[in-house]
Amino acid sequence: MSVLQRNNVHVHGKGPPMVFVHGFGCDQNMWRLLAPHFAETHSCILLDLVGSGRSDLAAYDRARYASLQGYADDLCEVLAAVTSAPAICVGHSVSAMIGMLANLQCPDQFAAQVMVGPSPCYINDGDYVGGFTRTDIEALLQTMEANYLGWSSNMAPAIMGAPERPELAAELTNSFCRTDPEIARHFARVTFLSDHRAELPGLRAPTLVLQCSDDLIAPRAVGEYLRQHIPNCTLRGIENVGHCPHLSAPSASAAAMEQFIAGL
C-alpha cells in the first residue's frame, strides 16, 4: 500500500505546498473550515495519521507509533511522495510536535511551521506549566480506557438532526472522527505522556504558534514557553474557548496564518 493510501492523502488547490496534520481525537475533517481559505493560493495536502480517520488501520504498528517519531517519519514520507517543494506544515495539537520532529528529520521538506494549539509537554514539571499533573493524565487515560473506548468497537458519537444546517444532511453522517478504541487508547497515552521540550531550540524553520485564549489542553503559559524556546517563533493569540480554533474561530485563525505566510 502506498503512503498516499496509508495516510489517506488528499490534495486540493494549486500553488506552493501546505500540509495540514490533524491532532488527537479526529481526522482531516478538522480542517474543513480552514483549509479552503488556502486552496486558492496553495496546494493543500490533507492526511489522516495512521490509526485515525480513513487511514490504513492495518498499518498501525504499536512499536512504530510508540512515540511521535513514527508519525513524523510518515509525514516526511508523505511529503516526499507528493511534492519536491518545501511545504508549510500546519499541525494541530500533538501534530504541531509531529511537524517539528519531521522538520528536524527532513528539514529540506519544510518552509515553515504553523502550530495550532501546540504543547511540547502536557504535564507540569518544576517551573514548567503544562496544565496537567501526572495524576490528571493518568485519570484521563483511565477515564478513556474505562468509559469511552473500552466497550464499543467503533466509537463515534451519534448524530442528531440539525435543521439549521441542511448541508450536513448531505455529508456522510456519523463518519467523522471514527476511532478504533484500542488505537485511540494507545495514541492518547503516547500523546499525553510525550515531552519534546528538549527539541524546541533545534527548530530552525520560521514558526507561528496560534494560542487560544482559553484552552484546557494548551494553556497560555505553554504558548509563552514555546515562544521563548523556539528560535524563530511568532506567537499569536486567538480569542477562542476550546482547543480547536480552526473549527470554532476559522476566520481569525486564517487571518493570523495569512499574515505570517505573507511575511515569510
Partner: protein
C-alpha cells in the same frame, strides 16, 4: 385563578425528567433546569453565568470534550448518546448520557444539552467489560490448554514410536546371538571333534554374554528413563585410575587388533560408583572402536584434581556430522556409517545417565583434524 389543564413550557422545562442545560458557543451556562441541579446537588445560580458546561465534567471528560466533542459539534452540529461523567464541586461522580445540539438563535450559536442519568447502564457496561476481560482470559487459557494438549499428544506419539523402534531393534539384536547359539548347539548335537566343540561352546558363551549385556543396557535404560535416574552405589574413596586401567586392559583383550592406551594424571581418588564408571568407559571405548579409525590408537585419559575427575576417550577417524553430534546422547541414535549399527543404540545414553547420576555431565567434540573426543566430568567433593 386560571386553571390550566397542563403545566406550562417553563414548568415542563424545569421539571423535565432529564437534565436540560443551555450554553453559549463557548460553553458558558445560560440556563439549567432543576432536575440537573438536583442531580448535581447545586443551586441554579452557582452555574448560570458562573460556570461552563465543561466545568461539570471530570478531567478525562473535559479533555474528551475538547478533543472530540467540540470539533464534532462544529462539524456535524450535534452529538448524541455520549457517555460522560458529571461532577460538581466535591459531589459524587454521576455517569450520564448526553445529547448536545448546536442551534442558531438570533445570530448566535447555542448549545442545547440534554442529560440522562446512566447509573444502571454504567453498571451494566462495567459488567460487560468485566465479562469481556473474563472471556479474553478464558480464551487465552483455552489456547494455552490446547497447546499443552498438542504437546502432550506429540510426546505420546514420540514415545509410542520410540517403543516400537526399540522392540524392533531389540528383537533384531537378540535374534543374532540366538541364531549363533542355535547353530552351535546343532553342531554339538551332530557330534564333532573336541576342538570344534570347544569353539562352539566359546561362541555360545560370547552370544550369551552379548545378550546379557543387551538386557543389562535395556534395564539400565528403563531405570534411567522411567525409574527417575540410574541407580549408583558410590564408594567413598574409589580409585578411578586403577579401575579404568583394569577396564582398559580387559577391553584390549576384547578388541584384538585395536591399540588401546591409558593415560593418567593427578589423583584417582573420587567418591564414585567405580563399576558404573567402568561400564561408561566400556561403552565409550566400544563406540570409539565401532566408529573410529581402527588403524590408529584409542586413548583413554583419566585426570583428577580440583574437585573434578575427567575421563576422555579419543579416537581418530571421520568426524561425527554436527547434526548427529547434537543428538548423540539421545537413546537409539546410531551412527550412519555402513556397518556402524552395533548394539541397541543405548550405549551413549547410558554413559550420560551414569555421568548425571554422579552429578556430572558428558560432552563430545569432533573434527577432521582432532578426531572425536568424549569428555566425562564428575564432581569429586
Amino acid at each position: 385563578m386560571h386553571d390550566d389543564p397542563l403545566p406550562g413550557h417553563e414548568q415542563l422545562y424545569d421539571a423535565a425528567p432529564c437534565g436540560l442545560l443551555l450554553a453559549g458557543a463557548d460553553g458558558a451556562v445560560l440556563d439549567v433546569n432543576s432536575t440537573l441541579c438536583g442531580w448535581l446537588r447545586c443551586r441554579k445560580q452557582e452555574l448560570v453565568g458562573q460556570a461552563r458546561f465543561s466545568d461539570l465534567l471530570t478531567v478525562g471528560g473535559r479533555i474528551f470534550w475538547q478533543t472530540h466533542l467540540q470539533p464534532l459539534l462544529r462539524m456535524q452540529a450535534s452529538v448524541a448518546e455520549v457517555k460522560l461523567e458529571l461532577r460538581w464541586g466535591e459531589g459524587a461522580v454521576l455517569p450520564v448520557m448526553v445529547n448536545v445540539a448546536e442551534r442558531a438563535w438570533q445570530g448566535q450559536l447555542l448549545l442545547h444539552v440534554a442529560v440522562f442519568v446512566a447509573e444502571e447502564r454504567h453498571r451494566y457496561e462495567r459488567e460487560l467489560l468485566l465479562q469481556r476481560e473474563r472471556a479474553e482470559d478464558l480464551a487465552a487459557q483455552h489456547a494455552r490448554d490446547q497447546q499443552a494438549l498438542e504437546q502432550a499428544q506429540a510426546q505420546a506419539l514420540d514415545r509410542a514410536k520410540f517403543a516400537e523402534q526399540l522392540v524392533g531393534i531389540v528383537s533384531h539384536d537378540i535374534r543374532n546371538p540366538l541364531s549363533v547359539i542355535q547353530m552351535s548347539a546343532a553342531l554339538l548335537e551332530r557330534g564333532v571333534g573336541a576342538e570344534q566343540q570347544k569353539a562352539a561352546v566359546a561362541r555360545i558363551t560370547r552370544a550369551v554374554q552379548r545378550t546379557q549385556h543387551l538386557i543389562g543396557d535395556l534395564l539400565d535404560f528403563t531405570q534411567a528413563r522411567v525409574g527417575g535416574g540410574l541407580g549408583i552405589r558410590k564408594q567413598a574413596e574409589a580409585d578411578l585410575h586403577q579401575a579404568v586401567a583394569e577396564a582398559v586392559a580387559e577391553l584390549a583383550v576384547g578388541f584384538p587388533g585395536c591399540e588401546l592406551r591409558h593415560e593418567r594424571a593427578g589423583s584417582g581418588s573420587c567418591s564414585a560408583d567405580a563399576e558404573r564408571i567402568v561400564q561408561a568407559v566400556g561403552n565409550l571405548v566400544a563406540n570409539a572402536v565401532n566408529h573410529g579409525d581402527r588403524q590408529q590408537p584409542i586413548t583413554v585419559r583419566t585426570e583428577g584434581g580440583e574437585g573434578v575427575f575427567r575421563i576422555c576417550v579419543h579416537n581418530a577417524g571421520a568426524p561425527i556430522p554436527p547434526q548427529v553430534l547434537a543428538t548423540l546422547f539421545e537413546p537409539m541414535v546410531r551412527g550412519s556409517a555402513p556397518g556402524a549399527a552395533k548394539g541397541v543404540g543405548l550405549g551413549l545414553y547410558i554413559v550420560r545417565a551414569i555421568a548425571r547420576a554422579h552429578g556430572g555431565e558428558v560432552s563430545a567434540s569432533s573434527s577432521a583434524q582432532d578426531g572425536t573426543r568424549f569428555r566425562m566430568e564428575l564432581p569429586c567433593g
